[in-house]
């Protein structure tokens, strides 16, 4: 503990060097910018910058990369909230209530709770990474396919939080998502499913394409179709720009809970950023005093998932720095960057290059402060975007979403898909079908299936891996929690009735 503290202090002396501060500032600014643009993620940015940075000292380069990574997590929420266009999958949940808040003239508060929540989560999670990395890593290694399956089932419970008033329509949306998730090569056998001979579909349909199609394109088309009939005003700003006392008191607990959910799951090799944001959403809805506000602009539903998203970003860096395990595309690129400098990431990196590792960790703390300073004042500026006349605003969203979808894979087929899904999204809105369950199904369906089948392949078909608490205690506990989550509200309702 004392040693860690000492190393961290040394790290701060590295990262507080004026030049390194400058690189951190550049990193977070670039990161925020690319986070705002859908389709361009931190992994591509780091890849583009790699050749440029060969001239830099490794410490400076990694300080910048860390800043880009954290910055992108911040920036992603901005377009989600204002334009209903999630730039990356971790920001999808934010769009649900964040955009509803923006339409009610509370965009500034949504952006503020996202920014402060990201700061709180980023800082706490970085602290956790500093002090409990080894414990976290041994926890992560406990997760095999059976345990992941348990986690996926637990995450599926979240769908109950976004089903909407009509159960049948909500389930229909979920089934649509599960079906879309089937598209592509089946990983265990190599057989192509629902690809209709189109090679571009072999890898499945990108979640970001579906999210942008259903949320941004569907919503924009819907607004266009209503434009002549009703004048629904979008308020850029109603009342104060700042978070009220009530906003604060409704935000701080979700920030902390989001962090507690995001960090451990982010550090799992197959954890990702989607599941923690989903889980945070359902937890907040269950605990909220006014759960009926969820889906219509509840601030908890922005605060929690945003914190979870940023905490999971720090979680991803934990196995990368401690073990050299890249658990996301960005982490894989950073690993390649380590190799470019002839550094061996992994268990020995802390011993061989303490200055670099601790300098980078320290600069993540500093980067978080920069990000807050950069994003909080910008919130007031960003919401002015909604003052743009509606035809221009929606035209802009359509162009922006299309551009983002193309830059994802440089692929025309993605654009066709985006617009088919977007028109489908318009239909769903006209028929009052909620779109969020579709996204939940699309993200979780394939993962749950993969892990389920992997677990059975390893056990050679023995189903006890899912219910025998002696051999797989963690998987069984996760499944039990999932069932409890699902059944408890029903039982409570029965008792009340």
């Amino acid at each position: 503990m004392m040693e860690t503290l000492q190393s961290l202090l040394q790290g701060f002396s590295v990262s507080l060097d004026p030049m390194n501060l400058l690189w951190a500032a550049i990193g977070v600014t670039v990161g925020t910018a690319i986070g705002v643009l859908p389709g361009i993620g931190p992994s591509l940015t780091v890849a583009l910058l790699l050749p440029v940075t060969t001239a830099l000292e490794p410490t400076a380069a990694f300080i910048m990369f860390g800043g880009i990574y954290y910055g992108a997590m911040y920036g992603g929420s901005t377009t989600s909230i204002l334009l209903n266009t999630p730039g990356e999958s971790g920001a999808i949940v934010t769009a649900i209530d964040g955009h509803a808040m923006a339409r009610k003239g509370r965009g500034a508060q949504a952006l503020a709770t996202a920014a402060i929540g990201s700061f709180v989560a980023g800082t706490i999670a970085t602290l956790a990474m500093t002090f409990v990395a080894p414990a976290m890593v041994s926890f992560a290694l406990l997760f095999g396919p059976a345990e992941y399956f348990g986690l996926m089932v637990l995450a599926f419970v979240t769908v109950t939080a976004v089903l909407g008033e009509n159960l049948a329509l909500g389930m229909a949306s979920l089934m649509l998502g599960l079906t879309l998730g089937l598209v592509g090569i089946d990983n265990q056998t190599g057989a192509a499913r629902l690809t209709f001979g189109i090679p571009e579909l072999l890898d499945g349909i990108d979640v970001v394409i579906v999210a942008v199609g259903l949320f941004a394109i569907g919503e924009a088309l819907y607004q266009v179709s209503r434009y002549r009939h009703e004048k629904e005003e979008i308020y850029a700003l109603k009342g104060s720009l700042w978070m009220s006392r009530e906003d604060w008191s409704r935000s701080w607990k979700p920030w902390l809970r989001g962090t507690a959910i995001g960090f451990p799951i982010g550090s799992l090799p197959a954890g990702g950023s989607e599941i923690p944001t989903f889980l945070s959403y359902v937890v907040e809805k269950r605990l909220a005093k006014k759960p009926e506000e969820f889906g219509h602009g509840a601030i908890e539903a922005v605060a929690g998932p945003e914190a979870a998203n940023n905490a999971s970003a720090a979680g991803v860096l934990t196995p990368l720095l401690a073990l050299g395990l890249p658990t996301s595309a960005t982490a894989a690129i950073m690993l390649a960057a380590f190799q470019q400098y002839g550094l061996q990431p992994g268990p020995l990196l802390f011993e061989n290059d303490p200055q670099l590792v601790w300098g980078m960790i320290a600069s993540l703390y500093i980067g978080n402060v920069f990000l807050l300073l950069l994003n909080l004042p910008m919130a007031g500026m960003w919401v002015k975007l909604l003052l743009v006349p509606k035809p221009w605003l929606y035209g802009g969203i359509l162009a922006f979403a299309t551009l983002g979808a193309y830059s994802l894979n440089n692929n025309i087929v993605d654009l066709v898909l985006l617009w088919i899904i977007g028109i489908g999204g318009l239909g769903m809105r006209l028929l009052n079908v909620p779109v969020a369950p579709c996204i939940v199904g699309l993200i979780l369906g394939p993962m749950a299936e993969q892990h389920f089948r992997r677990a059975l392949a390893i056990s050679q078909g023995d189903l006890s891996v899912f219910y025998n608490p002696m051999t797989h205690p963690l998987a069984v506990s996760l499944l039990v929690i999932a069932i409890a989550f699902l059944v408890t509200p029903m039982l409570l309702r029965l008792r009340r009735a």
């Binding site: 992994s43 591509l44 780091v46 890849a47 583009l48 790699l50 050749p51 060969t54 992560a140 290694l141 406990l142 997760f143 095999g144 396919p145 090569i185 990983n187 265990q188 056998t189 190599g190 192509a192 090679p199 571009e200 072999l202 890898d203 090799p269 197959a270 196995p319 073990l323 050299g324 395990l325 890249p326 658990t327 595309a329 982490a331 894989a332 690129i333 690993l335 390649a336 190799q339 470019q340 002839g342 061996q344 990431p345 992994g346 268990p347 020995l348 894979n409 440089n410 692929n411 993969q450 992997r454 392949a457 390893i458 050679q460």
Partner: protein, 318 residues
């Protein structure tokens, strides 16, 4: 125009004291049929740096076109002709994807320019695994094939090929392999380290950190002979006839003029002989595997046939 260029080049040749001069290739575009960060992308970006620095090409752009194991990038490369010079990265993994995805285009539709680098694959087990040697592992595999789970990326990947070759060499039917797909390098390593799958593999460069730190144990490596400085026995010396090179290479359009081909060949030849290229390849833990066009074209065909046969035995192809 071309002629005057040749004259200028010839004049430069006459004046230059060291080596034959190579005309600078302008606005070269390199397609990496994969996402940023992978082997193809890294090879492309190293080429970009070295070609630029050596003055062999300028205005170089790397374009990432991921999808379907690289076959999307390959199909676009073959079907969309460009006016500016273009190159495509490829390798053994893409050969596998061409076959398993039943791609309509293959490397036959390109001009194989040069093989560049090689990544040899060790197989690893957890540090506390009961299997200390390949012999231990194979003994158990022979007795009860299903009990050993082999982790690897997608069906038809180089990982899958390696296990197939090993099963064949050990006299076990390749279709008996209990292959578990783990999609990323991180999942693979944590799957092995956490004891969730028995065996894992990957490029030596991806696994070396964990091997050196003793987090996983390397049982054998797929190189034909021991690699300098790497203390892992080869499959060959253990008596298993397994030889797998995860090679990466560069391809050019098929219908180039002879002098255009020559221009590219010379540039690549100069590039692979430069100190910077050698250093970059070494830094990433790869081996230099340069093979000029004549030899390489035959090699690609051979690998294609070998993979096809292997996939039939693995049950991936009917």
């Amino acid at each position: 125009m071309k002629k005057s260029m040749t004259i200028v080049a010839a004049a430069a040749l006459a004046f230059a004291s060291a080596g034959p001069a190579v005309a600078e290739i302008k606005r070269l575009e390199i397609t990496a049929p994969a996402a940023a960060g992978g082997g193809y992308d890294q090879n492309a970006r190293i080429m970009q740096q070295v070609l630029q620095k050596e003055g062999l090409a300028s205005g170089i752009q790397v374009v990432n076109q991921p999808g379907a194991g690289g076959t999307i990038g390959l199909a676009n490369y073959v079907n969309n002709k460009k006016r500016t010079p273009t190159l495509l990265m490829g390798g053994l993994a893409l050969v596998g994807a061409i076959i398993t995805n039943k791609s309509t285009v293959s490397f036959e539709d390109t001009y194989p320019l040069a093989r560049l680098s090689a990544d040899y694959q060790p197989i690893v087990v957890a540090a506390d695994s009961p299997y200390k040697t390949v012999e231990d592992l194979i003994a158990k595999f022979k007795a009860d094939p299903g009990s050993i789970s082999w982790g690897g990326s997608g069906p038809g990947s180089t990982d899958h090929m390696l296990y197939g070759l090993l099963a064949k060499a050990a006299g076990v039917e390749p279709s008996k392999i209990n292959y578990v797909v783990l999609t990323s390098g991180g999942e693979m390593l944590s799957g092995v380290m956490g004891g969730h799958v028995t065996v894992g593999t990957g490029g030596y460069s991806e696994l070396s950190a964990q091997i050196n730190a003793g987090k996983v144990r390397a049982l054998a490596i797929s190189s034909p002979e021991r690699l300098p400085g790497i203390d892992i026995p080869t499959f060959k010396e253990k008596g298993y006839d397994v030889n797998l090179v995860n090679w990466r290479a560069v391809f050019a359009p098929k219908d180039l003029k002879a002098e255009e081909k020559q221009e590219l060949e010379q540039a690549i030849d100069k590039m692979v002989k430069s100190e910077d290229w050698k250093a970059a390849v070494k830094q990433r833990g790869w081996s230099d595997a340069y093979m000029p066009p004549a030899e390489f074209a035959a090699f690609v065909k051979q690998e294609h046939v070998r993979a096809e046969g292997l996939f039939k035995e693995l049950g991936l192809l009917k």
